[in-house]
C-alpha cells in the first residue's frame, strides 16, 4: 500500500481525534457522569444506581452505535460509489435504505408473522436492503448513463415511500406510532446486550470490505480493465452488495434511516486524501464517518435542552448542501 506522508499524517490525526471525540461523546448529556461512574458501571454495576444505568445502558451503547453507524454507512457509500463508478451513489440515494425501511414497515404495520424479536427487525431490514441492492445491481447492468441509475434509485425510493404510506393507512394507531418512532431515527434505542450482534455484523462487513480492496481498486479503472486484470466482476458485485446490505440493514434496523452519511463522507474522504487506493479510503471512511456521527450526536445532545432534533434530520441538514456543492464542483 503506497501512502504519502500527507496521507499518513492525516490518518494519524484522525486516529488520535476519533477516541478523543468518542470520549467527549461519553461525557455529554443531560446528567453529569464521572470517570468513576463509568468505571463502577463496568466493574461494580448496581442497577439501582442511576449514574451506573445511564453510563452502561445508555451512553456506552449510544457511543458505540454512533461509531458503527457512521463508519458502516460511510463504507457502504464508498463501496457503492466504486461499484457504480458514481460519486453520487450511496445506500440512501440508491434506495437500499428504502428497502430496509420498507421491510421494517411491513413487519411492524402489516402483522406479517415473520419475526417479532429484535432479530426479526434486523433480518427484515437485511432482506430489504439486500433485495433492493440486487434490484439496483440488475438495473446497473441495463443502463449506461450514471444519471439513469440515480434516477432509478430515486424512483425506487418514491415507490417504497408509496408502499409504506399504503401500509400506514391500513395500520392501526399503535402500529403507526411504532413505525413513526422508528423512522425518526435514534441512536439511543440500542441496548448493551444487542451490541455483540451489531459488532459481529459490522466486523464481518469491514473484514469483507478489506478483502475486496484489490478488486475495488481495479473497478475504478472500469469494468473492462478490471476484467483484464483478472477480477471476477459478477462475484465482486455480489460481495459488495452483500456487504452494503448487511451494514445498511443493521444500522437502519437499530437506528432507523440515517440519510446522506453514506454519500457525503466517502466524497469528503476522496477530497481530503486524493487517492484511489481503497485500503486508505476504507480506513479514512471508517474514521471520518464515525467522527461525523459522533459530532452530530454531540451537537444534538448539547442543543437538546432548547431544541429537539432527530439524528436523521441533522445528517440531512448537513449532507444535502454538501451534495449540492459536490454537484456544482463537478459541473465546473
Amino acid at each position: 500500500m503506497n501512502i504519502s506522508k500527507r496521507q499518513n499524517a492525516l490518518l494519524l490525526a484522525l486516529l488520535i481525534c476519533l477516541p478523543i471525540i468518542a470520549l467527549i461523546h461519553l461525557f455529554v448529556g443531560q446528567i453529569d457522569i464521572s470517570f468513576t461512574d463509568y468505571f463502577d458501571s463496568i466493574f461494580n454495576f448496581d442497577d439501582r444506581n442511576a449514574s451506573h444505568l445511564i453510563s452502561r445502558e445508555l451512553r456506552i451503547p449510544r457511543m458505540t452505535m454512533a461509531v458503527i453507524a457512521g463508519a458502516g454507512l460511510s463504507i457502504a457509500g464508498l463501496l457503492m460509489q466504486t461499484l457504480f463508478n458514481n460519486p453520487l451513489a450511496g445506500p440512501y440515494v440508491l434506495g437500499i435504505n428504502s428497502g430496509a425501511s420498507l421491510f421494517v414497515a411491513l413487519t411492524i404495520m402489516t402483522g406479517i408473522p415473520f419475526f417479532t424479536s429484535d432479530l426479526g427487525i434486523v433480518t427484515n431490514a437485511l432482506i430489504g436492503a439486500f433485495l433492493f441492492g440486487l434490484i439496483i445491481l440488475f438495473f446497473s447492468t441495463m443502463v449506461r448513463m450514471q444519471i439513469s441509475l440515480l434516477l432509478i434509485g430515486l424512483m425506487l425510493g418514491s415507490f417504497t415511500s408509496a408502499l409504506v404510506s399504503l401500509a400506514q393507512t391500513a395500520s392501526d394507531a399503535q402500529e403507526l406510532k411504532i413505525f413513526t418512532m422508528w423512522a425518526l431515527g435514534s441512536l439511543q434505542k440500542v441496548e448493551l446486550h444487542q451490541l455483540p450482534l451489531i459488532l459481529a455484523c459490522f466486523g464481518a462487513s469491514i473484514l469483507g470490505a478489506f478483502l475486496v480492496v484489490k478488486p475495488l481498486n481495479a473497478l475504478v479503472l472500469g469494468d473492462k480493465e478490471a476484467r483484464l486484470l483478472g477480477t471476477n466482476i459478477k462475484r465482486v458485485r455480489l460481495v459488495i452488495i452483500l456487504i452494503t446490505a448487511i451494514i445498511t440493514g443493521v444500522v437502519t434496523a437499530f437506528c432507523g434511516p440515517i440519510a446522506f452519511v453514506g454519500l457525503a463522507v466517502p466524497n469528503l474522504v476522496r477530497i481530503l486524501f486524493k487517492t484511489q487506493s481503497h485500503a486508505i479510503l476504507i480506513i479514512a471512511s471508517i474514521l471520518i464517518g464515525a467522527m461525523f456521527i459522533l459530532l452530530c450526536d454531540i451537537a444534538i445532545q448539547l442543543i437538546e435542552p432548547h431544541f429537539i432534533m432527530p439524528i436523521n434530520a441533522l445528517t440531512s441538514i448537513i449532507g444535502a448542501p454538501f451534495v449540492i456543492l459536490l454537484v456544482l464542483r463537478r459541473l465546473k
Binding site: 446528567i31 445511564i54 445508555l58 399503535q174 406510532k177 418512532m181 429537539i308
Partner: protein, 353 residues
C-alpha cells in the same frame, strides 16, 4: 330583456343567501351565564338564544362570536370525541348526523344510529369532503383545531352550515374542560340540564379532591413516554399534573413551570425515576410494545408492576374524560391508594401487562 335577466339573477342570489341569514337580535343587556373555570369561552343569554364568544387560548381575546338559536340546531356533525361525549351526557346524541370515524366512537346510542344509517362518517377536519358536508344538511359542525380555519368555512356558511371550534382541550383546569358542556347545553337548548350536570361533576370532583388531600402516603408518579428521543410529560401547571396532585399523588415534575408538555431526555427520566412508584399513560396497550419503542423503560421502578393506561378503554376515555374529570380523578385515587376500598372500581384505566 337584459335588465330583466339581471333582475332575476339578483333575486335568485338574494333568495339563495337570504334564507340562510341569521336573525340579528338586540344584545343590549345580555344575561351572563356563570362560567367558573373555563377561560376559553364566554356565554350570554339573548332573546331566543345565546351569544357565545370564543376566546383565543393564548391571548384570551375574542376570536369569534356566534349567535346560537337552539331551535335551529337540529343536525350536528361532531368531528371531536369530546363533543360526542358531552352530547351523550345531555341525552342529545340524536342530534348527531355526522362523526369523523365510526371506529373512534364509544357511545352505544351513536354507534347504533350509525348502523341504522342515521349517522355518517365525514373524516377528520382535514380530510372531509365539501360536497358530502353540504349534502348532510347539517346546521353546525364542531371541530377541535386551534388557530386554524375549518376547510371551506366560508362556502359552508353560504349553505347555512356553521362551523365551530371546540377549545376544551386547551383549558388548564380539569373542571374547565368539563364546563364546555354549558356550550353544548346552549346549542341543544338544554342549558339547565348542562348546568345541573356540571354542578354535580364539580361537587363530586371536589369531594374526591378533599379525600385525595388527606392521604398521608403520596406515591410518586411519572407520566408519558418517549416520542423520538424525547420523553413528553405534563408540566407542573398542566391540568393532568393538577389531577395527580388532587388524587393524592406526588407528581415527579410538579415543580416545573408551564402548562404544555415537557420534553425530557431518557437520561433525565432514568435519573429521576428509578424509584418512582407509578407510571401513567405510556401510550401502549402492553409491555412488549412499550419495550419495542422504548427498551430502556424496563429500568424504571414502576415498570414491573405499576404501569397504568386508559389504552384498553381509549374510545371511552376520549369521549368522557373531558366531561367527567371526577371519574378520571376517582381512577387515579384507586391507583394511588389501593388500600382505600371506598372509591370503587376503575372507569378508564387498567394495568398494563
Amino acid at each position: 330583456m337584459k335588465i330583466s335577466f339581471l333582475a332575476v339573477l339578483a333575486i335568485l342570489f338574494v333568495s339563495c343567501d337570504g334564507n340562510k341569514q341569521k336573525k340579528h337580535a338586540s344584545f343590549d343587556d345580555p344575561e351572563k351565564i356563570e362560567i367558573r373555570y373555563a377561560e376559553n369561552f364566554k356565554l350570554k343569554k339573548i332573546k331566543d338564544g345565546y351569544l357565545l364568544e370564543l376566546l383565543k387560548p393564548g391571548t384570551k381575546d375574542v376570536s369569534e362570536t356566534y349567535e346560537i338559536y337552539p331551535s335551529e340546531n337540529k343536525k350536528i356533525i361532531s368531528l371531536t370525541a369530546t363533543l360526542n361525549g358531552m352530547l351523550a351526557a345531555l341525552n342529545s346524541q340524536d342530534l348527531i348526523v355526522g362523526i369523523s370515524d365510526y371506529d373512534h366512537v364509544y357511545d352505544s346510542g351513536i354507534r347504533s344510529r350509525f348502523k341504522n344509517g342515521g349517522v355518517k362518517e365525514y373524516g377528520g377536519t382535514a380530510q372531509n369532503s365539501l360536497e358530502k358536508l353540504v349534502a348532510s344538511e347539517a346546521n353546525i359542525i364542531f371541530y377541535d383545531i386551534v388557530d386554524e380555519q375549518f376547510p371551506n368555512q366560508q362556502k359552508l356558511k353560504k349553505f347555512g352550515i356553521q362551523v365551530m371550534p371546540i377549545y376544551d382541550w386547551r383549558e388548564n383546569h380539569p373542571l374547565a374542560k368539563a364546563e364546555w358542556i354549558k356550550v353544548v347545553g346552549a346549542i341543544t337548548g338544554k342549558i339547565k340540564e348542562a348546568n345541573a350536570f356540571f354542578d354535580q361533576v364539580e361537587k363530586d370532583y371536589n369531594i374526591l379532591k378533599n379525600l385525595g388531600k388527606n392521604y398521608s402516603k403520596k406515591p410518586t408518579v411519572l407520566c408519558g413516554n418517549l416520542i423520538g428521543d424525547s420523553w413528553y410529560t405534563p408540566s407542573g401547571n398542566n391540568y393532568y399534573a393538577m389531577m395527580i396532585e388532587d388524587a393524592g399523588g406526588d407528581y415527579r415534575y410538579k415543580t416545573t413551570k408551564g402548562t404544555i408538555s415537557l420534553a425530557l431526555s431518557i437520561e433525565q427520566i432514568l435519573n429521576d425515576n428509578l424509584k418512582t412508584e407509578i407510571w401513567l399513560n405510556p401510550g401502549y396497550k402492553d409491555k412488549t410494545t412499550i419495550l419495542k419503542t422504548n427498551p430502556h423503560a424496563k429500568h424504571l421502578g414502576a415498570f414491573k408492576n405499576n404501569v397504568y393506561c386508559y389504552s384498553n378503554g381509549m374510545k371511552k376515555f376520549w369521549e368522557q374524560s373531558a366531561s367527567r374529570p371526577d371519574l378520571v380523578l376517582s381512577d387515579m385515587i384507586v391507583l394511588f391508594h389501593p388500600e382505600d376500598k371506598s372509591i370503587g372500581t376503575l372507569n378508564f384505566y387498567s394495568q398494563i401487562n
